[in-house]
Amino acid sequence: MYNFEFERPTSVADAVKALGQEEAQPLAGGQTLIPTLKQRLAMPSKLVSLSGISEMKGITQEGRTLVVGAATVHADVAADGTIAALSDLAGNIGDPAVRNRGTIGGSVANNDPSACYPAAALGLGATIVTDRREIAADDFFTGMFETALDEGEIVTAVKFPQPEAAAYAKFEQPASRFALVGVFVARTGEGVRVAVTGASEGGVFRWREAETALASDFSAGALDGMAPEADDMISDLHGSAAYRAHLVGVMARRAVAAAR
């Protein structure tokens, strides 16, 4: 990997300042970024580690909202359990050692099209908090590896409203453990949300037809025979577009059946 300067600030303000340098990049848990750097697919002049910022770590409850600091690792979200579906999802990312380093902020900021957390954020209608503003999940994920974040903007927390019932069902790509298809279903006071990861060329998306069907009948049977259009689905050696589209229907039914 190419060399870079390394800085480990202890406050969000200092991190933002450090990121002002040209070609500087934030480092969260590094479970995606470090392999990327090893392949020389990125060449930052400086990495600004977010691991020393205690104000970005930990989980708190504000009324019916769970606030997860962006530097909170997957293992801690898995152990929390306040929103069972979110903790189950976190506890099945990667493997135990990866879950001890990888963070929620790093995952949502990277917006890998096969990552699990974007499905939870979009499915629960989360709010992404940054050093300068709050962004609704519906506006945050803008495409494969793309988000609404500006250059040098840091995700500091993710706020999740408590759902009435929710579940995440993931069909794992067995080698990488990323989602070949993952579907997060949530029933909230404002309706039903269905978020799909792993499937689309555009990254995580909401499956509106399923939301409509589930709004009047929240049961797996309401989705019988349904699958989204295969046109925009990813097609690769692990699965064709048609296979992925079919899996979206299957995983959505499993998630609805498991929702609690």
Binding site: R8, Q31, P35, D95, P96, A97, R101
Partner: protein, 161 residues
């Protein structure tokens, strides 16, 4: 070059590290602790698992400078100073939990992390926890057996495969 200081196996350790120096590289090349193995260098195989502040992590996917001030435990610190193996290591020997031995340091460190969280894991829990530790020799069965034995459980009930 930046300087980094940490505690390794209970003793203070420090040295120079570039921004890109991995913790695995720092342990092996700067401190000479070559028990931490680098199998794949892509965070798949788990041969490089060490504990940082009590948590199992893949040393090939963490920068040395991120371990500033941390408490690091490696395979070298597992046996007693007189060479007596710890219960997990002894169980690996007793139950033939290794063949070529390359993955063993990571297996032992992962097992130690598991038993700290869950002192009496079931067979399924052990297999699930070892998801990120690959072994190409044993077929895992004797590794699982060794970890059950190390946690004081009867391994006679474990079917031979």
């Amino acid at each position: 070059m930046p300087q980094v200081s940490m505690t390794v196996n209970g003793k203070p350790a420090s040295g120079e590290a570039e921004g890109r120096t991995l913790l695995s590289q720092f342990l092996r090349e700067t401190l000479g602790l070559t028990g931490t193995h680098v199998g794949c260098d892509t965070s798949q195989c788990g041969a490089c698992v060490v504990h940082v502040d009590g948590k199992a992590v893949k040393a090939c996917t963490m920068f040395a400078l991120e371990a500033e001030g941390a408490d690091v435990a490696t395979i070298e610190g597992q046996a007693a100073p007189d060479g007596t193996l710890n219960p997990i290591q002894q169980a690996f020997q007793d139950h033939h939990g290794l063949q070529c031995g390359f993955c063993t340091p990571g297996m032992v460190m992962s097992a130690a992390a598991l038993l700290k969280e869950n002192p009496k894991p079931s067979e399924a829990e052990i297999r699930d926890y070892l998801e990120g530790n690959l072994c190409r020799c044993t077929g895992y069965h004797n590794i699982v057996k060794a970890i059950m034995a190390a946690s004081g459980q009867d391994v006679g009930a474990l079917a031979a495969e």
